[in-house]
């Protein structure tokens, strides 16, 4: 037996570890159907909403095609479903996708392979957040493509302030990071209970807590709610300006740091399974 083999131990840097983890997550994302299914869902849903509600005889859900992206003004409390059913729905789909993505890590036992080798718990949190944020941002794009294509076919009004529209879309894409970190955190907490993971992601993704709070304090005073993920996501609307985008960036990055720290703490202090 070759017992005399010289063994070298070189510690990988944070960058090397994160690159490895991101490599695995993106490889998995692009080589499994989950990502493509959710991209398709994100494209089909707005097309269906727009198509089905503007057919002859039906009451139009939106006065303008671009309301499929966001409402005209930040409506924290909505009166009609059309004011709610816009690109923010991507964050609900995204929540379910993240639950399945992370659930598979634990269900298959692959997470054991990861944690046996060099990745740290913080690498896991960060990598999942980035990968899932990327997926949700892509879902925003397919949502836009689906909605606009259906809008063109239905002949709905397409007048819009292009600058505000771009900021609204970018704002929502930026918010994907914060939402992804929330869902990663929830799925790390409920990692042993797949059903609860999905239910909790769906619950928070609907923004029901913020909608409830806004209903109490009223739409006009609800700007304070922009410090939360759902508040900022609603704030990115068709009357947005550059400050809206800055708020989105600050809120999204801020919550990402908080949820990543909390998630790392939970993973470090508890058993993997």
């Amino acid at each position: 037996m070759n017992n005399t083999r010289e063994i070298k131990f070189e510690s990988p840097s944070f960058y090397q570890r994160l690159r490895g983890m991101l490599g695995v997550d993106f490889y998995r994302l692009f080589h499994t159907p989950l990502y493509y299914i959710f991209l398709a869902i994100a494209a089909i849903i707005p097309a269906m909403i727009l198509g089905m509600t503007t057919v002859e005889g039906g009451a139009p859900l939106y006065s303008n095609t671009w309301n499929i992206v966001a409402a005209d003004t930040p409506l924290y409390v909505f009166n009609e479903i059309g004011e709610y059913a816009n690109m923010n729905m991507v964050f609900i789909f995204g929540g379910i996708m993240v639950s399945i993505f992370i659930g598979h890590d634990y269900g298959s036992g692959y997470v054991k392979q990861l944690f046996t080798s060099h990745p740290k718990k913080q690498d896991y949190m960060l990598s999942k957040t980035i990968t899932c944020a990327f997926s949700m941002a892509c879902m925003c794009v397919t949502y836009l493509i689906g909605g606009v294509t259906a809008g063109l076919f239905t002949g709905a009004d397409m007048t819009v302030n292009v600058g505000s529209l771009i900021i609204a879309i970018l704002g929502k894409m930026v918010m994907s990071l914060g939402w992804a970190s929330l869902y990663t955190f929830l799925n790390v907490i409920f990692r042993k209970y797949f059903g609860i993971s999905i239910a909790s992601s769906f619950f928070f993704g609907t923004g029901i807590l913020i909608i409830g709070a806004a209903a109490v304090i009223g739409n006009s005073s609800s700007a304070l709610l922009n410090i939360f993920l759902y508040g900022s996501s609603v704030n990115a609307c068709l009357s947005s300006n550059i400050f809206t985008l800055i708020i989105c960036v600050l809120v999204s990055v801020g919550w990402t740091l908080v949820y990543n720290l909390l998630g790392t703490l939970v993973l470090s202090k508890s058993d993997v399974y």
Partner: protein
């Protein structure tokens, strides 16, 4: 330098101690057979070494470094309970993910190398869920072998395998240690198989290490006995008991313990009117040694 050094390792689940101050030393280059009954703490120890569980207290060192050190962890491969693969992905894709995670320079080459070691180079495109149990275990070994590991931790890798599967697995493990010189910590209930490959043993009970010994020590402690067959086993056993002391009838044979002289026994029985139809020298194997050790502990 030892590959694994554990001191005072304690782990409890809801107040029940799975490990209670475990000490363990696995020398570098050893194939360490980790033995114990169900619930004795084997898997818990392995999961703690792999960083899957958080210890209540205790110290784990791998190659002289803290076990959480990323430099040493990158050189650890494990097969704990199952291969940890995505069922919908192919064998190749599963291995590729781990190769990317480890940051290997030539993942394709490395994947084919490990698949060849586990004799699965023709099954790379097969979906993991379509693989048999034996194949899944071998894929788990292949995954653990990626990136030239210095330490392999294998939890019951031969469980559920048929005779041929066990033989292949045994050959693979011996080949790995001979060719690559890596240390292997292997737990199994199939002691006969462990005995064929292990260079060291650790016997655990109720979360504590009962005994650690090398294969050579095990060999020297093993009792020898002569087993024989005659027409009248009871009468032969009675006669031999008078002369040699420690005699038992087991599995249709008379066993004369701590005796090595077959010819003297045959002469003695012939003198007393018995014809010996079968006789052979034996040694108590790992399984019997283990059972005896456990029963000694129980009676204490």
């Amino acid at each position: 330098m030892n590959a694994i050094e554990i001191r005072g390792l304690t782990k409890s689940f809801r107040g029940m101690y799975a490990l209670n101050g475990l000490d363990m030393t696995v020398p570098k280059g050893a194939i360490y057979g980790f033995i114990g009954e169900n619930g004795s703490g084997k898997s818990t120890t392995e999961k703690l070494i792999c960083g899957h569980l958080v210890a209540d207290k205790g110290d784990i060192k791998l190659f002289g470094r803290d076990f959480t050190d990323a430099g040493v962890r990158v050189r650890v491969g494990a097969l704990i309970e199952n291969a940890g693969c995505f069922p919908g992905s192919s064998v190749y894709q599963n291995l590729m993910m781990q190769a990317i995670n480890l940051g290997l320079d030539n993942p394709d080459e490395e994947i084919m190398r490990v698949l060849k070691i586990v004799r699965m180079e023709d099954n790379a495109a097969l979906k993991f869920k379509k693989c048999s149990l034996g194949m899944k275990q071998r894929i788990g070994i292949a995954m653990a072998l990626l990136g030239d590991p210095a330490l392999l931790i294998l939890d019951e890798p031969i469980n559920g395998l048929d005779t041929d599967g066990m033989r292949i697995m045994r050959e693979i493990l011996v080949d790995i240690t001979k060719t690559y010189g890596c240390t292997v910590l292997i737990s199994s209930h199939i002691l006969g198989e462990l005995e064929k490959i292990s260079t060291h043993y650790g016997i655990i009970r109720e979360g504590r290490m009962v005994q650690e010994l090398t294969a050579a020590e095990m060999d020297s402690r093993a009792r020898v006995f002569v087993s024989l067959k005659t027409k009248d086993l009871d009468e032969a056993a009675r006669l031999l008991q008078k002369k040699y002391g420690n005699v038992r009838i087991e599995e249709g044979y008379v066993r004369v313990y701590d005796v090595n002289e077959t010819e003297a026994i045959v002469d003695f029985l012939i003198e007393n009117g018995h014809i010996v139809s079968e006789i052979k020298k034996n040694k108590i194997g790992l399984e019997e040694y283990y059972i005896e050790l456990m029963s000694r502990k129980e009676s204490k």
